[in-house]
């Protein structure tokens, strides 16, 4: 219940995803940039126009200036220009007719000089056309990539926001490295797609449509023959994309595992070295890494097959056009009721070649898009995890806490059916200190985790000043609760900023005052840069005790309405603890506090002591009353002397301090 979404990952890999839905969601992110896309569309039309006009001009250069007059007259049709053959330089061939030149009126009597000048003019126009093509392509690229990058940034920030929104339970159940992989590696696949692929694919699509249109307008019958392979191309693309997407989904998951293992091994590198575990870790990483490699290799088997398949189909189309056209021509038959001329055939051969170019271009980049879709699915998959701890829609801010905390028959469980707390009820009046004791694993940490609503209760209710914690916004609740956790987490930032984390708007002086209160100032002053000393990740460079002092300073700075100390001073030596004891007392005074401690000194001053065992409160009262009761608390309390009593040669004072328990 707290969440056990551990199976989400497995489900994700096998569940067939709705691609169009993923694409629609992407489209939603691109919507704010629609003006740019309008511009891109205009540029695309212009650049396609330039792209198809340039070869025509190139053909005209031949037809108008280069073909010797005699040849033009006698062998018009026998002098085909192949790749430079402009599709428009068609016209009925063989039967020599008018010149195919429409670019300029070039009289047969034109002098050499006139022809060269004319050619120069044409070349200049051509250059102009190229310039237009380049500029429009550049602009398209710019608008597409910049908006694509902005979309990615939005996505990343959104994912981060969502990660922070997800409850602790989710984070406990999932590898953080895998979640991180979505923000970096999966997002990167999208980045690659939006930079180049998308624009190429779209402009390639434009060209294809244009060529197809030209073919059909020249001759419907011949056009259909030339396009006969198109359905196969579409089928091949669809099949290979579906396969590739499946394979890419697996690669994304594998990459997530690589990232997770990296994360775990790097953050646990100290343990690995302490136990000479490096070789095992390296071997284990090799396996994960190899699984990622193999998944990728499987994926590329599909993606590398698409382009050659389409290319081969393109050649088939070419052969088809040539053979069918040539046959009709030679046999003097009509092709599907239309007459084929040599000129038409040559034109169509050129068309098919032009048609194949964008098809190739698209197929190469198509895989990037498939990979991006698989990456997008994972990102959206994370965004779709509904936090089971959500602010109620009608939540109103929790007013300043007085500190009346009531737990009414509270049940809690992490795994279904395994209750950690079983019907805990307690009431802490404002300003009271409640100590929670009990054996390890009794549910103490769970109990205090419910107060800032890190988890939700599964039964019963927890109220603060009469407000059910589920009915107030999490932020307004937690802002008023100070927590010092068992493991004090520090950020890789300066000491000053780490303490200020408790209250970002605090001044430097306030931070220093809090550090003094927690008795942390002495060791801080000894550091090379004092409060400005930058800590390593998680505060490396400081001992656990020092980290705890900083965590206490942080909580003190927050000045919370409710204070929770979970083993806050477990790693602080007793002398330092004695020094901060008074500070802690000041901190605890006048605010409701929950304290988990094994040092009984803290507990003795508590207003209430709760003895927790197996998720139930088995004893409650004050220290004195519980001692008098001679129950479990008494046994726990006395146990520390049992461990001292076997000391051989214990001096007099020690023996005096250790009366054998009854």
């Amino acid at each position: 219940m707290f969440h056990d979404p551990r199976h989400i990952f497995e489900a994700e890999t096998s569940k067939p995803q709705n691609v169009s839905q993923t694409l629609r969601r992407f489209a939603g992110y691109f919507r704010p940039y629609w003006r740019r896309y309008l511009g891109v569309l205009v540029m695309m039309i212009v650049s396609t126009w330039a792209a198809v006009t340039a070869p025509q001009l190139l053909g005209q250069a031949v037809d108008c200036y280069l073909v010797p007059p005699a040849a033009t007259a006698a062998f018009e049709g026998v002098s085909p220009t192949l790749t430079v053959q402009p599709p428009s330089a068609s016209g009925p061939a063989v039967q020599a007719t008018d010149s195919a030149c429409w670019y300029a009126e070039v009289p047969l009597t034109a002098t050499t000089e006139e022809r060269i000048n004319g050619l120069a003019g044409l070349v200049l126009r051509l250059l102009g056309l190229y310039a237009i093509g380049s500029i429009t392509t550049g602009l398209m690229f710019y608008w597409m990539t910049t908006s694509g990058q902005r979309v990615l940034r939005t996505l990343r920030v959104e994912v981060f926001h969502h990660i922070l929104l997800l409850p602790i339970g989710y984070h406990v159940a999932h590898e953080s490295g895998d979640i991180m992989s979505r923000v970096t590696n999966d997002a990167d696949t999208i980045q690659q797609a939006v930079s180049f692929a998308l624009i190429q694919v779209i402009s390639g699509g434009f060209l294809i449509v244009w060529v197809a249109y030209k073919m059909l307008s020249e001759s419907v019958a011949y056009g259909l023959v030339a396009l006969a392979m198109l359905p196969f191309m579409v089928i091949a693309t669809a099949w290979f994309s579906a396969q590739a997407r499946k394979a890419f989904r697996r690669t994304r998951v594998r990459m997530g595992s690589v990232n997770a293992e990296l994360q775990e091994s790097i953050s646990g590198v100290r343990e690995a070295q302490a136990f000479s575990r490096e070789d095992e870790n390296i071997a284990s990483f090799r396996e994960t890494n190899a699984a990622n490699r193999d998944a990728n290799i499987r994926a590329v088997a599909y993606t590398s097959a698409l382009a050659p398949t389409l290319e081969a189909l393109g050649y088939v189309a070419l052969a088809l056009v040539a053979v069918a056209g040539g046959y009709a021509l030679l046999e003097g038959q009509a092709l599907l009721g239309e007459t084929v001329t040599l000129g038409l055939m040559i034109t169509f051969i050129a068309y098919v070649q032009r048609f194949n170019q964008p098809v190739q271009q698209i197929s190469v980049l198509w895989t990037n898009i498939q990979s991006a879709i698989a990456g997008g699915e994972r990102i959206f998959g994370l965004l779709d995890v509904v936090p089971d701890l959500q602010d109620a829609p009608d939540a109103t801010d929790l007013p300043p806490i007085r500190g009346d905390v009531v737990l009414d028959d509270v049940w809690a469980e992490y795994e279904k059916g395994e209750a950690v707390l079983r019907g805990v009820s307690l009431r802490a009046a404002p300003g009271e200190t409640v100590a929670i004791v009990g054996p390890t694993g009794a549910g103490k940490t769970t109990l205090i985790s419910l107060i800032p609503r890190f988890y939700d209760v599964t039964g019963g209710a927890l109220t603060i000043d009469g407000h059910d914690v589920r009915q107030v916004p999490g932020a307004s609740l937690r802002k008023q609760i100070g927590v010092v956790l068992q493991e004090s987490f520090l950020f890789s930032d300066t000491i000053m900023e780490n303490i200020r984390f408790g209250r970002p708007e605090a001044t430097d002086d306030e931070v220093i005052a809090a550090a003094k209160l927690a008795n942390a100032d002495k060791f801080i002053d000894r550091l090379p840069d004092g409060y400005q000393t930058s800590l390593g990740e998680r505060g490396t460079g400081l001992s656990q005790g020092q980290r705890q002092l900083l965590a206490i300073a942080r909580a003190a700075l927050a000045n919370p309405g409710i204070l929770i100390l979970d083993e806050a001073t477990s790693s602080v030596d007793t002398r330092t603890e004695r020094l901060i004891q008074s500070a802690l007392e000041t901190l605890l005074r006048d605010r409701t506090s929950f304290v988990i401690a094994h040092r009984l000194s803290t507990i003795r001053h508590a207003d209430q002591v709760l003895f927790l065992d197996q998720g139930r409160i088995v004893e409650r009262g004050t220290h004195e009353s519980l001692m008098a009761k001679h129950g479990m608390y008494y046994g726990l309390y006395m146990s520390q002397f049992r461990r001292q009593s076997p000391t051989e040669g214990g001096d007099g004072r020690e023996t005096r301090a250790a009366p054998a328990p009854a």
């Binding site: 220009t81 970096t184 775990e264 694993g441």
Partner: protein, 633 residues
């Protein structure tokens, strides 16, 4: 990697490319297929030309069949063929056509096969190179010293092993092949052009160095920019990683808005840097296309001029222009690849920065195996500074621990206790002074042989994804189950482990069950005990266990410490009562040493610590217990 000592250090990218040497056969396959596929591409114009010629001749032959032979001959010569060829073309035109068609089909299949092999093998090899690069990075990261990890963030290192490797991979798998094929095409086409018309070819040539020069300039401008992109991505990832690791604290203090702002700023920084690169590319890409087209236009003009002047025939021009695109399309391709290359080069630099990183703790080249330790540990004038600066954390510390002795370290938070125990397994090297085990300087022995004989329980217990059994057997994966249960019992962990439905098979770590601090600590103790080490280090190891459990662990430890040299940091004086030597540390120096009884007499600080304990625990108890006993009786 063969490299003569005189040759300059190769660039990072070259080093990455050399990884292909691990897969010679596959690489040869990929490039062989590339060669064939590229040559096949050069045949396309010929094939089409041939086919069209065939049809044209057939048609002409059919149409001129009725004309007189002399006219036919004239036409044939105009077409550049003999009369015989023309009449032959007329006899079986359909058959020739079908053969041409079939030829194209065969060609299509062959070319398809080779281009598939090229793409597939290329990707395959690149995945293998990425695999090697990641492994090398990981191994290095695993072995870099604590001080390296103190300075570097997990999130940043992760990006190098994922995103940077991917950038290099994409280049090796696609860019490098594309560049090779582009160069091949270009050179092949230029050679063909030269044989066709050297004069006209000379017109094209100046454009090539111009383009290539431009690419090189752009590449060198882009490289540092891409490096910065990766740096910003690392920063972003570091924030992400840190927030996930510290999610509880972030939530506890409701600092989500600030952290989101921090992340947003990093994301904006990253975006700004990418946009900078994109702007450069926006400028570069059209320029490249324009230059490629410029060549085409230049040829058109100069070639056309030659034709008009009659020095170039139309047929020659046509063949020439067919191959022209094989010069300029590669130019455009190279322009695209150059950005990929500078990106890969920047990333390769970042990868090798790690694999080349020198660990502060280096095994001496002549390091020998530390023989089975007896357990004499000696510190001689050891001084240590963290981060290489500031006030020393330890200053001229000297002591000797005899084999089997139990050494207790006492002192206030930050007095240097943890530092001492971090120096013994050589997690750090002392700034000055020498540490010896059984008389051997630690810097002269192999790290593994040293650390495998030391059992450590660190302050924080990290559990790894896996079962409880895996976590206990962390330092000795092959340990039999019986031994694992035995050490778990000794660490007072067996009981709670058995209470889980899955027992020792219970998954823990990131995706496993949540253990309490005390439970984690006991697993860590079991983990250390399993090594059966000669030297045992316990840092704060019993502090977050309740007193009852601590007492039981204590009993186990007392037995275990027998015969081993042990170093114990414990807050409670009770833990150190049995110590053979107590070292009292203050401000990085040993201020008192001796046994409990001696120190009580001689050391004011020790007496002070002792009395703080009495006030803390015992004294109160004395009163309460007395009271309790009184009420009881």
């Amino acid at each position: 990697m063969k490299r003569s000592p005189t040759s300059p250090a190769p660039s990072s990218l070259t080093r990455a490319i050399r990884y292909l040497g691990h897969y010679r056969r596959e690489t040869a396959y990929a490039y062989g297929a590339l060669l064939l596929a590229t040559s096949a591409q050069l045949m396309v114009p010929l094939l089409i030309h041939r086919m069209i010629d065939g049809i044209t001749r057939g048609v002409v032959a059919q149409q001129t069949a009725a004309l007189p032979a002399t006219v036919q001959a004239a036409i044939a010569s105009r077409m550049g063929i003999t009369l015989a060829q023309l009449t032959q073309a007329g006899t079986q035109p359909v058959q020739a056509l079908v053969i041409s068609g079939l030829l194209i089909l065969v060609f299509a299949m062959v070319r398809g096969l080779f281009s598939f092999s090229q793409a597939y093998m290329g990707e395959r090899v690149s995945q293998s190179v990425a695999f090697d690069l990641r492994n090398d990075l990981f191994s290095r990261i695993q072995r870099l010293s604590f001080s390296y990890h103190d300075r570097n963030q997990t999130g940043q290192l992760m990006v190098r092993a994922t995103d940077d490797v991917e950038k290099v991979r994409v280049f090796i798998g696609q860019g490098l092949l594309m560049a090779t094929s582009a160069l091949l095409l270009m050179v092949g086409a230029i050679v063909i052009l030269f044989t066709l018309n050297p004069r006209l070819t000379l017109v094209v040539l100046p454009i090539l160095p111009l383009a290539l020069g431009l690419f090189l300039v752009m590449g060198s401008v882009a490289r540092p920019m891409f490096g910065l992109v990766q740096r910003k991505l690392s920063a972003l990832n570091a924030i992400l990683q840190e927030n996930m690791a510290g999610i509880k604290v972030v939530k506890a203090f409701s600092r989500e808005p600030e952290q989101e702002q921090r992340f947003q700023k990093a994301a904006d920084d990253f975006l700004a840097q990418i946009l900078k690169v994109m702007r450069l590319m926006t400028f570069l890409m059209p320029l490249v296309f324009f230059i490629a087209n410029l060549g085409q236009a230049a040829i058109l003009f100069f070639g056309g001029r030659q034709m008009i002047l009659g020095t170039l025939s139309l047929g020659e021009w046509q063949t020439f222009s067919l191959y022209l695109m094989f010069v300029f399309i590669p130019v455009a391709q190279l322009g695209f690849i150059i950005t990929q290359m500078s990106q890969a080069s920047a990333s390769a630099g970042r990868i090798f920065e790690i694999t080349d990183a020198r660990s502060d703790v280096v095994e001496a080249p002549d390091a020998r195996l530390l023989p089975t330790v007896r357990g004499r540990v000696e510190f001689e004038n050891v001084t240590f500074r963290y981060f290489g600066g500031g006030k020393p954390v330890l200053e001229r510390v000297s002591f000797v621990a005899e084999p089997g002795q139990q050494i207790a370290l006492l002192g206030r938070t930050g007095s240097g206790k943890s530092t001492i125990i971090n120096l013994i397994p050589r997690f750090y090297d002392p700034t000055e002074g020498v540490i010896r085990i059984d008389g051997v300087d630690l810097r002269q022995v192999a790290l593994d042989s040293l650390r495998s004989q030391i059992g450590t329980v660190l302050q924080e217990t990290t559990l790894f994804s896996g079962t409880i059994r895996d976590n206990i057997a962390f330092g000795r994966t092959d340990a039999p189950m019986a031994e694992i249960v035995q050490v778990a019992e000794a660490a007072a962990a067996n009981e709670f482990i058995q209470s889980f439905p899955l027992g020792y098979g219970t998954p823990v770590g990131e995706r496993g069950v949540t253990l309490s601090g005390g439970q984690r600590q006991r697993l860590a103790i079991a983990r250390a005990l399993l090594l059966d080490p000669r030297i045992l280090i316990l840092d704060d190891s019993t502090s977050s266990v309740d007193l009852e459990t601590e007492w039981r662990i204590q009993q186990a430890l007392i037995r275990l410490m027998q015969g081993r040299t042990s170093f114990v940091i414990a807050q409670r004086i009770s833990t150190v009562l049995n110590a053979d030597q107590i070292l009292v540390l203050d401000d990085g120096a040993i201020v008192a040493r001796g046994r409990h009884e001696e120190l009580l007499e001689t050391s004011e600080i020790y007496a002070d610590i002792y009395s703080s304990q009495l006030v803390d625990d015992s004294a109160g108890v004395t009163v309460d217990a007395a009271a309790a006993m009184a009420t009881e009786s």
